[in-house]
């Protein structure tokens, strides 16, 4: 389950990012990184020995807690939204994409885009 869940989540993101059968391009790296962070975080939390009082803390938390909170919960926060923004024009939505959609609307229903409003 520690591996299956990240697989499921990253697969869903990839599924949404793939456009018309093309590859995800530059998004492959952030997706792979996030998969590694989340899977690695879960597995490391299971593999590390239990923390005890007096053990060294990682950024203020016991090691296994730090792995979960920082590795799984915090780092992907910085990776994914930035990856989305930085690749948006090239890989997600351009003005040409919107024009094509509006043209399809006109072709299908014979009305100008958003003319129903």
């Amino acid at each position: 389950m520690a591996v299956a869940l990240p697989v499921c989540m990253v697969a869903m993101m990839t599924f949404g990012a793939v456009r018309n059968g093309r590859r995800v391009g530059a998004l492959a790296l952030p997706f792979a990184l996030v998969f590694a962070l989340v899977t690695g975080g879960f597995l490391l939390a299971m593999a590390l020995p239990p923390d005890r009082a007096g053990d060294a803390l990682w950024l203020g938390l016991p090691r296994r807690a730090a792995v979960i909170l920082y590795g799984v919960g915090l780092l992907p926060l910085f990776v994914l939204p930035l990856a989305y923004a930085l690749t948006f024009d090239a890989l997600t939505l351009s003005d040409e994409d919107i024009a094509r959609v509006r043209a399809a609307r006109t072709e299908t229903l014979g009305e100008s885009p958003r003319g129903h409003r």
Binding site: M13, G16, V18, A53, L57, T92, T108
Partner: protein, 507 residues
């Protein structure tokens, strides 16, 4: 997350300590006045059903992101969540942990498709999107039924929580407090519709984020920093800071699955994508929403852990109930004005969530169910207002019932949304091989399994093993049914896809 409000609704039903202090009451009154002013302004701008249900499709990025964040979080983020961290430790954090992924995942999987659908079709509701994608009034109607069933329970749990907060502030008794809270939300929602809701969401969302950030800094100060908090807890109750807290790994990971994937089926958040004025503004949506969500959830983790440390070190008396964690910390370790703002923020979080449910519930009745029967309500604005009142009053009556019943209704809300809507939205909008039959059967599967398993569990016919939830079972089952039925009926896939919708899916 709003799902949190359903799953752990019971946790909200514990009363916060009486706080009849003038400062808290004064700030709360000031807060309600601002909400009323925004409602009056929005009422003047609401002139059509499109204004009422989708804010005239004229929102900017910041407004969309903050409103979506406010609708996502209910009062649970401030009261039940920290209480859960106090009692279960890091295991409770697995409810919010998927937020690191879900905002971006939702942007890739849903946001662009839904916003582009609004470019080519008249989109008022999420079932509209399902109906357009599969050219199926039946699928749209079934999705509408699921939304109405879930919304009543969700609204009841949140109205009960709002009543408890108002009672704690003004000391007027639970029943009057529920009705006063209900009437305040109704006043601005019925007149100003989602437009009033959205701009109140923005005000409420900013309030929640700012209050949470301040409280988090007070928490670190009171506990001697994160290291001080950790050392205190590790010395006496190390399980709290284990990677799964006091849950089993299976239970913690099950939270991660349900609140992660299930986030793709929350209509009160997803339908806000229709409202964005310019589709290209989605570029910065995940970043803005994630940042706002991160700030707002600091209180969830920070207060839960610091209160545990304070109790273990003897600086705070043991709590009567876990839900007392936030109110007790606020009153003992922060300034009174900040405590007052946070109590208003709790009310704000609840009200923004309820308003969103009002909107999608009345839209489902006014718009989606008639479409399923092949007709269209003539004056959707008028009937939208009428059904908003009926649904809300119905939920307020339910909220007076036993806490257990209300909790039960809230529990299946999240599961019903997730199991009925995730397959048709997340898979359906991205997979051209999906079929109408796949959509219809997956929605039916989600409805039947969720209602059956939750009812059997409620009546104690059986109990699930630790870590297994009805929501997870129903979600997995409806996804499998969606894929299997679509594959079996794959010959019909092309026929259920109109050219303009195909263009949206290929964009």
């Amino acid at each position: 997350m709003s799902g949190v409000s359903g799953i752990v609704a019971l946790l909200q039903s514990a009363a916060v300590p009486p706080l009849a202090k003038p400062v808290i009451g004064g700030v709360a009154v000031g807060y309600f006045i601002i909400v009323a002013v925004i409602g009056i302004w929005a009422t003047r701008k609401t002139k059509s059903a499109a204004d009422f249900f989708v804010a005239g499709q004229g929102l900017g990025l910041f407004t969309l992101a903050i409103a979506a964040m406010a609708a996502t979080l209910s009062g649970f983020a401030f009261i039940g969540g920290p209480g859960l961290v106090y009692s279960l430790g890091l295991g409770a954090v697995f409810i919010i942990l998927p937020a690191a992924l879900t905002n971006s995942m939702g942007a890739w999987v849903l946001a662009k498709r839904l916003r582009l659908l609004a470019e080519v079709r008249e989109m008022i509701t999420i079932p509209d999107a399902i109906g357009a994608r599969f050219q199926s009034p039946l699928a749209q109607g079934l999705a509408g039924v699921a939304i109405v069933l879930a919304v009543i329970g969700y609204m009841a749990t949140n109205l009960l929580a709002l009543g408890l907060v108002i009672d704690a502030i003004f000391g007027i008794g639970r029943t009057p407090a529920i009705w006063i809270g209900t009437l305040i939300i109704l006043a601005y929602s019925v007149s100003g519709g989602i437009l009033a809701g959205i701009y109140n969401d923005v005000f409420q969302g900013v309030l929640m984020a700012v209050a949470s950030t301040f409280v988090f800094s007070f928490a670190l100060q009171a506990g001697g920093g994160l290291s001080g908090i950790s050392q205190t807890i590790m010395a006496q109750d190390p399980a709290i800071l284990g990677p799964w807290g006091k849950l089993t790994p299976l239970a913690a990971l099950s939270f991660f699955f349900v609140f992660g994937l299930g986030s793709l089926g929350q209509p009160h958040v997803a339908h806000k994508f229709f409202m964005l004025k310019d589709a290209r503004r989605l570029k910065w949506f995940p970043l803005v929403m994630t940042f706002a969500l991160f700030l707002t959830l600091l209180l969830f983790v920070g207060v839960g852990l610091v209160v545990k440390a304070l109790v273990l070190s003897g600086r705070m008396a043991p709590l009567g109930t876990a839900d007392d964690a936030t109110p007790t910390f606020l009153l003992q370790f922060t300034s009174l004005p900040l405590a007052a703002v946070v109590f208003s923020a709790v009310a704000a979080a609840i009200m923004s969530t309820v308003n969103s449910f009002m909107s999608i519930g009345s839209a489902a009745i006014t718009h989606d169910l008639p479409v399923a029967f092949g007709w269209r309500v003539k004056d959707e604005l008028r009937w939208g207002r009428i059904w908003t009142v009926v649904l809300t009053l119905g939920a307020a009556v339910v909220a007076q019932a036993s806490g257990t019943l209300v909790a039960f209704l809230g529990v299946f809300g999240w599961g019903l949304f997730a199991s009925t809507l995730v397959p048709s939205l997340a898979l359906g909008l991205n997979w051209q091989g999906a079929t109408r039959a796949g959509s219809v059967w997956s929605i039916l599967t989600g409805l039947v399994i969720t209602l059956t398993l939750e009812s059997l569990s409620f009546f104690k016919v059986f109990s699930f093993p630790s870590g297994v939830t009805a929501t997870a079972i129903a979600l997995v089952a409806s996804l499998l049914v969606f894929v299997a039925v679509s594959w079996l009926t794959r010959a019909t896939a092309a026929a259920t896809l109109s050219p303009d919708v195909r263009a949206v899916m290929e964009a």
